[in-house]
């Protein structure tokens, strides 16, 4: 989808960041972020370790207050919305998974229905169907009764994504969704995200792989270690100099199938 068409349809932004400064303890203010995330957009966040990518995602999910500025979700200030309402609109996949107690794969996917169910309500047949469908999408069909403690890192990661798919939010916030995944499943998971975005959802994901970001994201936000940030369409942002400065790493640039590729320069 080209930018001109996006502008013509001009859907109201799902998520608006206004002068947003995230709160990273012990760190000075970063550059304020001002951007709109609209339906049908996939935003990639790139930056070195410790640049505040995860903190930004947690802030966007309303899990920690920003230091300054506001976030609006469908036009309403995020801090004033009840958690349940937010959870129907925003789905978050975390980088770490805390599994305190034994639980099965299906139970873990099913908790994605929590924001839709009333206190006394049990999960319905449709909820089960939604969870099973999500598990099929991430290639975990047939593992419904396995205990999560027995899963490999990549399987656990795909299960977290299945939980988010079961949650069926308007915006997916994905912290390193390709973590622990083999090549095939990296592409498979990002294909799922792309399909969801094509159906009018939006996604914000942190990635370490510039080349996957170049292929799957239409917008990029670069977060520099010093706190500066810049953002725009992927085409605008994929400038070798900027990326080299971002990671403090010399890059070799090429092109494959009309898309730029970047590799670290090694000796």
């Amino acid at each position: 989808m080209s930018d001109s068409r996006l502008l013509q349809s001009a859907p109201a932004p799902l998520l608006t960041l206004m002068d947003l400064v995230v709160d990273i303890p012990g760190r000075g203010d970063g550059a304020p972020l001002n951007l709109d995330i609209r339906a049908g957009q996939c935003w990639g966040i790139l930056g070195p370790n410790g640049a505040g990518k995860s903190t930004l995602l947690h802030t966007l999910a309303g899990l920690r207050p920003p230091r300054r500025g506001t976030i609006r979700l469908q036009g309403q200030p995020l801090g004033q919305l009840p958690r349940r309402r937010i959870a129907r609109l925003l789905g978050m996949v975390f980088q770490d998974h805390q599994d305190g107690f034994p639980a099965t794969v299906l139970e873990t996917a099913l908790i994605g229905r929590h924001p839709y169910l009333r206190p006394w309500e049990m999960e319905s047949a449709e909820d089960h169907q939604a969870a099973l469908k999500a598990l099929r999408q991430v290639d975990l069909a047939g593992m419904e009764t396995r205990l999560i403690a027995t899963l490999s890192g990549g399987e656990r990661q795909r299960l977290a994504i299945a939980t988010a798919l079961t949650q069926d939010p308007r915006i997916f916030l994905l912290d390193e969704p390709t973590n622990h995944l083999d090549l095939h499943h990296q592409v498979a998971v990002l294909d799922i995200v792309r399909r969801a975005v094509a159906q009018g959802r939006s996604a914000v994901l942190t990635l370490h792989d510039i080349n996957l970001a170049a292929r799957y994201c239409d917008h990029l936000l670069l977060m520099y270690p010093g706190g500066e940030a810049c953002w725009g369409t992927t085409r605008e942002m994929l400038v070798p100099n900027a990326l080299e400065r971002l990671y403090g790493q010399a890059l070799v640039t090429g092109e494959v199938e009309g898309v730029p590729v970047f590799f670290p320069r090694t000796r």
Partner: protein
Amino acid sequence: MSRPALVLPILLGAACLSLGIAVALGSVPLTPTETLAVLAGGGEPLHRTLILELRLPRALAAFATGGLLAVAGALMQVLLRNPLADPYVLGLSGGAAVGALLSMLAGLGMAMVSGAAFAGALLSTLIVFGLAHGTGSWTPTRLLLTGVVVAAGWGAFISFLLAISPTTELPGMLYWLMGDLSHAHSPWPAWIVLVVVVLVAMPLGRSLNVLARGPLQAAALGVAVRPLEWTLYGVAALVTATAVTMAGSVGFVGLIVPHMLRLVLGNDQRLILPASALAGGILLTLADTLARTLIAPQQLPVGVITAMLGVPVFLYLLYRSR
């Protein structure tokens, strides 16, 4: 799927059976027919007194106390996301014991002893949860560690009180420390608390399931984490205080009952909470019956029985979980 549907009716049946056993056994053993006759409203006068005035109130008190302790354990384990949390380990029982012993030393009446035990349990909760809160992060490990240390502190204080107490007071105090149901008068307050807490906690069950996945994941799935955690702290303190007031510090029920149920049923709190209430009740009713009859006419503190069962089970579970 059918397993959860079956569990509660089975436990309910076992609960009735355990109460039946508790009223039938004792220094004057009764046959099932004699027991049933009394419960149906007839029977010999001696049997009526024995059952309706002595054994039944005590069995009901044991059942409610066991249920409360198991529910408190189940709630605290979810709250701390640690299977080793329970009122005894976290020092709530110790605080209650200190309150009770102090009022016994001061020569106060039974009602005051109960009130002091309640105050002690609440104080202990405030200390443990208040200190563990610290600079704002609720780390379960820190909470557990705080509880264990506070429990050790109460233990030392209890030893101090025992050391300075007149010898005549000691037997009553020691019984109280190990948990003893022979002082329990009316079982009804404990029953009311048990039923209300289970009814309040059941609709929260799914939220608790999500909370067991960690506070961030729970918040991301729409749980208002802070209010839910405060509710749980309050409920756990109330439940523990009620149980300790009934029977002194009975250990291990809150630890082993939810844990064993989880091994069999999985970790759906909507099932674990009512099942804990029933299974904890059954366990303590049977343990108290043993305590009354094992070396009759002498009575053992019921805490001795639960600890004798609890210690090996606890160690086995720890060993398995490596």
